[in-house]
Amino acid sequence: MACQGLQSGETLASLKKESDSLKKKLEEERGKLNDIELHQVAEKVEMLGALSIKTKRLLKGHGNKVLCMDWCKDKRRLVSSSQDGKVIVWDAFTLNKLLTSSGDGTCALWDVESGQLLQSFHGHTADVLSLDLAPSETGNTFVSGGSDKKANVWDMRSGQNIQSFESHESDINCVKYYPSGDAFASASDDSTCRFYDLRADREVAVYQKDSVIFGASTVDFSLSGRLLFAGYNDYTINVWDVLKGTRVSVLFGHENRVSRVRVSPDGTALCSASWDNTLRIWA
């Protein structure tokens, strides 16, 4: 539709002056705005009871920082990679090492199902620190987070950047989809984790606490998406209530940075990998 022409008495200069003053007024108004937050809607939801989560398994075997891990679909095996150059497949339940190999531990091993797809994208964006595939029925998108503070959603087929979110104040170390695929969480060096809704195209929650001042390196959701597990550079794992925005638990145990957390496919346990060369299973 066409724009309105200048009315009589208006000049570009006068309009600009007016728009500047209106802009100021808008900024004032904006400050007064009370946007509705997710936690307000979640007020009626029952508070979570105290969670009792403890280390149930300790996997020792790497000679250096454990950087990555992920679960196998069978819910008890997992694969981990380390700066020691080894990739180990464990039966985490029995603590048996099923397979060890040395190599460069590329991220293709994380996602057994679509290892090929991951590889073809990793090469394109040098500063991507994390990516996750959408669990949606059309299954064609993935989200990436990087040291440019941005989280981007991509179309796998066209390579197009569909959506972009930039609200973190520092590098995004990890991104993970919410179980329904309609949202995702991010972990950042700015010591916060955030929750973004893809349909509304915006950030909907920030998980932060004054006492949490170290960078967050990794996140994953519990099976129902109600809990968000986040690993930090202060060796801890914080457990957040996704809906209410509050922290429900802190997990201590690792003796160095937590590099990766992953909930098992059936949701029965959480695995954490650390620079202290160990992996822990929490339940």
């Binding site: 728009s19 904006r30 809607v41 195209d201 109600r226 809990l227 809906l243």
Partner: protein
């Protein structure tokens, strides 16, 4: 009204801005009511007839012109249809419609865009963002907590859930139609020369509180399935050292657990993600003589996720079995999709079957899946499903 500090927007897009705001005025705007959609009630909806009548009255125009304006509103996504959402037209009858509240005119981003990748050229980008923040607040009055609480009370009823699903699906359909128009359809977002990081997309959902509501409901639905939150039966193997839970939930079991079978009813994707659910569904489809749909879908999945080296071979098989004239398990795809697929097959790649696969997927989802859930096959499965006894922790 025109000159007050909030209405900066009129400088560029006065006609559209004024129209949308006027339409949504609680007193003088289009009549909003609960609309019946089959047996469901959707709140805060309008009929096509009401919209047209309102436009005629407001602008003192004839029906033909009002129909044109109304058609533009739907085509550009300001208003979306609840019935037949795939067809973006404004019907001057009892057909129900709702506002995509935060609709932008073509160029500026919608109210909920918090992202910073908006092009910095021109000051108006900033204003546009702010303008929509104000609009959002006004519109929120029509979707405030009173309505939310009423919805919560009705939460238990199936009709309520169905309304959510319908509304969201309609919004989604409208969104995809506008942002990914079907082949041959006019792309209303086409603005000539391609811009990098074009931020003129129609943002999907207006009611952010509605989305929050969906998160709450999702976590409630899955609560019993989340072992870290609620425990699992008979016990969590990691805690009790007893692997019975895994044995009972293995891929192939004579008798699946109740939670597992229930989960198949949460969404079509849940059913397909479980190999046992998929097998049951296949059995059902065989009775309906439409098993070729699921076979086709599985074959397409295999192409998408399989080895590069076997793509050509697999695509050839799919053509032979499902697409060729007179194929043994011919699948019913619309002619446009079929043409596009057949053309693509000449140079097969990983995603060449995507359109056809999606067509069949949605066909099963909308048609066979709901009927499966109502079938004796599923109901019996649910009835004889196992509920394990809880074993105490050691």
């Amino acid at each position: 009204e025109l000159r007050n500090g909030k209405n900066l927007y009129f400088l560029l897009y006065k006609p559209i801005y004024l129209l949308i705001v006027a339409m949504q005025d609680p007193d003088m705007g289009v009549k909003m009511r609960n609309q019946r959609l089959l047996i469901t009630v959707i709140p805060h909806a309008m009929t096509g007839r009401d919209i047209i009548d309102w436009l005629i009255q407001k602008y003192n125009i004839c029906e033909e012109e009002a129909l044109h304006v109304g058609a533009m509103l739907v085509r550009y996504g300001y208003v979306y249809p609840l019935k037949e959402p795939r067809s973006l037209v404004l019907r001057p009858d009892e057909s129900p419609y709702r506002f995509q509240v935060s609709q932008p005119p073509l160029h500026p981003p919608a109210i909920y865009l918090a992202k910073k990748n908006i092009r910095k050229q021109g000051e108006l980008m900033e204003y546009e963002k702010e303008r929509y923040s104000v609009l959002h607040k006004r519109i929120n009055h029509t979707w405030d907590f009173v309505v939310m609480q009423a919805r919560e009370q009705l939460r238990a009823s199936k009709q309520r859930r169905k309304a959510d699903r319908i509304v969201l699906e309609c919004q989604e359909q409208a969104y995809w139609l506008i942002n990914r128009p079907p082949p041959g359809a006019h792309n209303v977002l086409d603005m000539g020369l391609e811009r990098i990081n074009n931020s003129s997309r129609v943002t999907l959902v207006s009611d952010i509180t509605f989305l929050y509501f969906l998160f709450v409901k999702y976590s409630e639905q899955y609560l019993n399935h989340d072992p870290i939150m609620q425990g699992c039966l008979p016990s969590n193997p990691w805690i009790s050292d007893d692997t019975a839970h895994w044995t009972m939930n293995a891929e192939v079991v004579p008798s699946p657990t109740r939670l597992r079978v229930e989960r198949w009813s949460f969404s079509f994707m849940e059913l397909l993600n479980d190999s046992m659910g998929r097998r049951e569904f296949m059995t059902y489809l065989e009775k309906e003589f439409s098993a070729e749909n699921l076979c086709f879908w599985q074959a397409c999945e295999d192409v998408r996720h399989g080895e590069n080296s076997r793509i050509i071979e697999k695509v050839e098989d799919i053509y032979k079995n499902f697409l060729a004239p007179g194929a043994a398990r011919w699948v019913n795809i619309d002619s446009k999709t079929m043409d596009k697929t057949l053309h693509g097959i000449r140079h097969p790649h990983r995603f060449v079957m995507d359109d056809a696969q999606m067509h069949i997927y949605f066909l099963m989802k909308k048609d066979s899946y709901p009927r499966y859930l109502k079938s004796d096959l599923y109901k019996n499965m649910l009835a004889k499903a196992v509920v394990p006894q809880e074993t105490k922790k050691r």
